[in-house]
Symmetry: C2
Subunit: 367 residues, 2 copies
């Protein structure tokens, strides 16, 4: 899918498409994707704001502002971190949008990780009941997961992502060169979501990941582009079939029901989201094996791959009742009880309701 001619005027980036009818949009992946002319074309002739955080803005915002002929006041640089994904930051973005005179034809550009993408996307969804936005993810996690698919939102003190909207971007630019400034731990956390796609639906990709652990751990550019593109392809296909998570899209939550409970039970201070998802996937695999749905050998293969890229697979010791409490708050819970994403082995995830409580407790207590 890459342009081969070295004289091509367009840079050699991979272009994928999220098919959502009139709301379809391209994902541009590659080193230097932030300079792709699609962005300037998209923003031409209208007011835009650039939303970022105080870690990312000093690295990449200046170039973008200049390229798009924006002024310093068009940049909203929020404090960095999940603890700022709250209504106060949402209000700060909206207030600046109004001050800068954005109208219904305005556009919001999100430059950063998942927190920035979620906040900026939700602000775009709500400002004047919805305006355009562009995702420029700068973390691996955001590139392979949160920037694609239109889930936006913020946290309440009572729970993560309790407030939000489904609101699709018009363009996603995944510039893998931005990953050079990512910490090793953040990079690994992103790999958990990459492995998730393999675990849900793609045993060949799982094999590829196993074979390419050295290149992945060396941050090899080609390996990263392949991982990002494969992950985005899976996400785009699932979102195209089930945009609002009426069914199949819930598979993308493999490891997330357990993971969210782990994050909450450790007050969001010990585990990065990707680390919690890694452990959560192992717990989902263990529960699947306990219920007789899958072979324990698949659990071991998952643990081995996670370990090979430096991700945890065992939860820190936590009281069972605290974990159960946080599980019960899961958004996927309905009056009928919890839904779990389990598997029948690598590449074969399923949505399961009515899980045996003793098996669940056994997994949660690490027995």
């Amino acid at each position: 899918m890459r342009t081969q001619s070295p004289k091509a005027e367009r840079p050699e980036h991979l272009h994928l498409q999220v098919d959502l009818g009139q709301r379809s949009y391209p994902i541009v992946i590659g080193s230097g994707a932030l300079a792709d002319p699609l962005l300037a074309e998209h923003c031409a002739g209208r007011r835009c704001v650039l939303v970022s955080d105080q870690n990312v803005a000093p690295l990449y915002a200046r170039t973008l502002l200049d390229r798009l002929a924006l002024v310093d006041d068009d940049l909203i640089a929020l404090p960095a971190g999940e603890q700022h994904k709250h209504l106060g930051s949402f209000q700060a973005i909206l207030t600046r949008m109004a001050e800068r005179g954005l109208r219904r034809d305005g556009c919001v550009i999100a430059l950063g990780g998942g927190v920035i993408g979620d906040l900026a996307g939700f602000a775009a969804a709500c400002y004047m009941r919805g305006i355009d936005f562009v995702q420029c993810p700068t973390t691996l996690l955001a590139m392979v997961d949160s920037s694609v698919g239109g889930k936006t939102g913020l946290n309440l003190p009572s729970g993560k992502n309790l407030v939000g909207a489904f609101w699709q971007p018009q363009l996603v630019l995944a510039d893998v060169a931005a990953l050079s400034t990512l910490s090793a731990r953040e990079y690994r956390a992103g790999l958990a979501e990459v492995i998730k796609y393999a675990a849900i639906a793609d045993p060949d990709f799982f094999d590829w990941l196993q074979r390419n652990v050295d290149a992945i751990n060396a941050h090899d550019a080609d390996a990263i582009v392949h991982m990002v593109a494969t992950s985005c392809r899976h996400k785009a296909a699932i979102v195209a079939r089930d945009e609002r998570e009426a069914g199949e899209r819930a598979l993308l939550n493999l490891g997330h029901t357990f993971g969210h409970a782990l994050e909450a039970a450790t007050d969001y201070t010990q585990l990065l989201h990707g680390e919690a998802v890694a452990i959560g996937m192992v717990q989902a695999a263990q529960l699947s094996a306990l219920l007789g749905m899958a072979d324990a050998a698949d659990t071991q293969r998952l643990i081995d791959l996670l370990s090979a890229v430096g991700l945890p697979s065992v939860a820190p010791p936590l009281p069972l009742d605290r974990l159960r409490h946080h599980l019960a708050l899961d958004k996927k819970a309905v009056a009928g009880g919890l839904k779990f994403i389990l598997w029948r082995g690598i590449g074969k995830a399923e949505i399961v309701s009515g899980v045996d409580e003793r098996a669940l407790d056994a997994v949660l207590s690490g027995q």
Copy 2:
């Protein structure tokens, strides 16, 4: 359309339908509609919160809580008034929803005027990326306008309704008995939106309103039901054809571009929304006449009807530059300039761009 049998188990309310495919919903209109069994059926078996304000809650909340088997903590009674339609109230609703354990199958019931409907609807739109809600409008304005059609939102310090979502209710209950506790001024303000439907698209309804001024001013129950039903029918038809205001729905803003500027220029302290809309409709009619689109006799008929029901038709004296400033902030403004809703006479509204600036100034300065 009324059930004739006095023995019918269902109360004798008028049922209209807003046709939006899978998101279609009924509007139940009549005295006692709050007791319609549809509400209890809709809320059965799931967690609900009742959002109201401190004026309305003491009048009607207890009965609803009891009928729906809700507890006191399920009632959120916000301070009353447009000045509370802000992010703080939004946060208060969302926080309580989380505390009460609402999940994706939960439901929000809005009981009050337009402020409550807008806030509660927006909270329903955003909580867990969207849950059900029911509108129980208690003002004439909310019954004939804001409770139908799915516009929800709140104000920023920089402007009204700058934040919001399109989010349709599943049910609207317009209990005209609730209007007995409405102040005479609030009732008249609601009549402005009723007259608006006649002015946009229904000369026969305009004639009916002229002929029935005495019954309207006497708060005659049959006249009120006819006004509410006719208004809701018009709104439902337009919303069904253009839910997200890509075109025709903008006609519903007749008088609103001028009206919003008048409200803002008087700091929202002098004019009720309906009063500002009344004046705004007259200004739109005057501008139409000045541009040669309509006969000035139609402007006079409009002024006469507004006067007959006690509504103003002349703006308070305001500096021209302040009005122009607020007009420029109108949400309907795009890079190409302001759009106005004008008319070619009673019942024939049109969307017009590129209005002559001198004619506009002449109308704004009352010349």
